[in-house]
Each structure stands twice: as C-alpha cells, then as structure tokens.
Symmetry: C2
Subunit: 145 residues, 2 copies
C-alpha cells in the first residue's frame, strides 16, 4: 500500500484503539504530510471531526496556494461535509481507500474537476466493515442516517 494511504490507515487504527470509528486521513503537500486526522466522534464527542475534517484542522492555517498543490488521502470515500471542505479549499486530488462500504460525494467532486482515485483496499474495507457490524448505531449516527 502506498505510503500516504498507510499513514491514513494508521490514523484509522489509532481511532479504533481509542474506541472510535476507524476512518483516517492525511493531507499531503508536495510529498510532505501537513496534517493527520481521524474520526473523533467518540473520542471528543464531536459530530464534525470526520477523518478529513480532522486532518485539515490538524494541518493548521494555510493560504489557498498550498491547498491547490495538495492531495487528501482518506481511508473512506469522503462524505458531503469532507467533500465540501475539499471543494472550499480547492484541493485538486483525493485518494480514497475504499468506497464499497460507503459511497461519498465522489460524483460531485469529479463534476467540479477534482481527481478522485479509488484504491478499493481490502484492509480499509475489512477494518470498517468489522466495526460497523459491531457498532451499527454509531456508524449510522456518523453518516446522518
């Protein structure tokens, strides 16, 4: 698995070890990780700290030019909120661990010119699907369903 998706998966595993929903992301600028994040709904009681939002938050403040040379790696297809953040900041590319468990707003992203690459990683799929089987209510809360 590619180095940066491995870093996102490490975040997801860390979230799992904390009792959280195992979804992780990293924001990468020209080959350097600016920020790492993971879903922290359980850990911080936060409805908005999805993996992508947390990675963007942890990467700090940047001018638009930085985002426009960055790639977001995320273990799961980005939901509407995380996709909206990608559009807001003009991040041109997203690498997605899998979209089999949950299909986010990939079509919207592509329609706005964002490159979306899907790895369909069995490691990402197996980890999240095992979690959902054990904690379905938490998962549904997280995706607003």
């Amino acid at each position: 698995m590619e180095h940066f998706m491995r870093a996102a998966l490490d975040q997801a595993r860390q979230g799992l070890a904390e009792g959280g929903i195992p979804i992780g992301s990293v924001l990468v600028h020209r080959g350097v990780i600016l920020g790492r994040g993971r879903n922290r709904r359980v850990q911080l009681g936060s409805a908005v700290l999805h993996g992508g939002i947390d990675a963007l938050d942890n990467s700090g403040r940047h001018e638009a030019s930085i985002y426009r040379e960055s790639v977001l790696y995320t273990t799961l297809s980005p939901c509407a909120m995380c996709s909206g953040a990608i559009l807001l900041f003009g991040i041109p590319k997203v690498v997605v661990g899998e979209n089999q468990t949950y299909m986010g707003e990939e079509a919207l992203l592509r329609s706005r010119g964002v490159e979306v690459e899907v790895l369909q990683s069995s490691e990402c799929i197996d980890m999240l699907q095992a979690f959902i089987a054990a904690s379905p209510a938490l998962w549904h809360e997280d995706i607003g369903e």
Copy 2:
C-alpha cells in the same frame, strides 16, 4: 430581526470582539438552540471552524432524526464545507443572513431539497464587509481564494 438570526449575529459580533472573522451560526431544533458557533480561524488557528461547523460541533452528538427537524441560521451564505455538513446531516432548512458578500452553495443545497431562505440583512452585510475591507488577506484565506 428574527430571534435566531439575532443569536447568530451575536456570535458573529463575539467573534469580531475576539479578533476573528465575524460570521456566526446557530442550530435550532423545534425552537430550541442546540448549539451556537462562530468562525474561529483566528481564535483557534482552525481552518475548519467556520460558523456553521462550529455550531454543529458545539451542539454535540445527535441522531439523524434530530437534524431532520432542525434549522441552521447563519449570518453568511454557507460555503461548500458548511453546505456539505447540512447535506450530510439532512438538515432540511437554512436561514441565511446575507449572500451579497459571498454566495455559497445555495444552488447545490436547493438541488438536494434543502429550503434556503435569504434575509439579506444590512446588519450582516455591513459587519462582514467592514471586516473584509480591513483584513482582506484573512478573508481570502478563509474562503480558500
């Protein structure tokens, strides 16, 4: 001005007093404010705590059924990230203080069935435009431009 937009505007003014970007929001469920928020890019060094995201965060964790009976009041037209959060959680209505200074993703929201009401409040417009005139770089950073 309607009570809940007044509460959102109070948040924006509080942000301004803190040295922040004056945009505020409140999430209202059946006439009760669940959470108040304001842009806290400056205050917390956060790229993701726009008014709407902060209000959702401060409102805590809820099941989908709560969001589906809620209204988000926000002093400014919601950006792609905040609009994405509205879509993720299935919030059916947004009341917008103004969209003259910045037009967010109102068309996307409407295309997905969200009711968007725009008040075009001169109080909201004047406050934000005065801030932007004084701090244009900060504003552009916040909207990824």
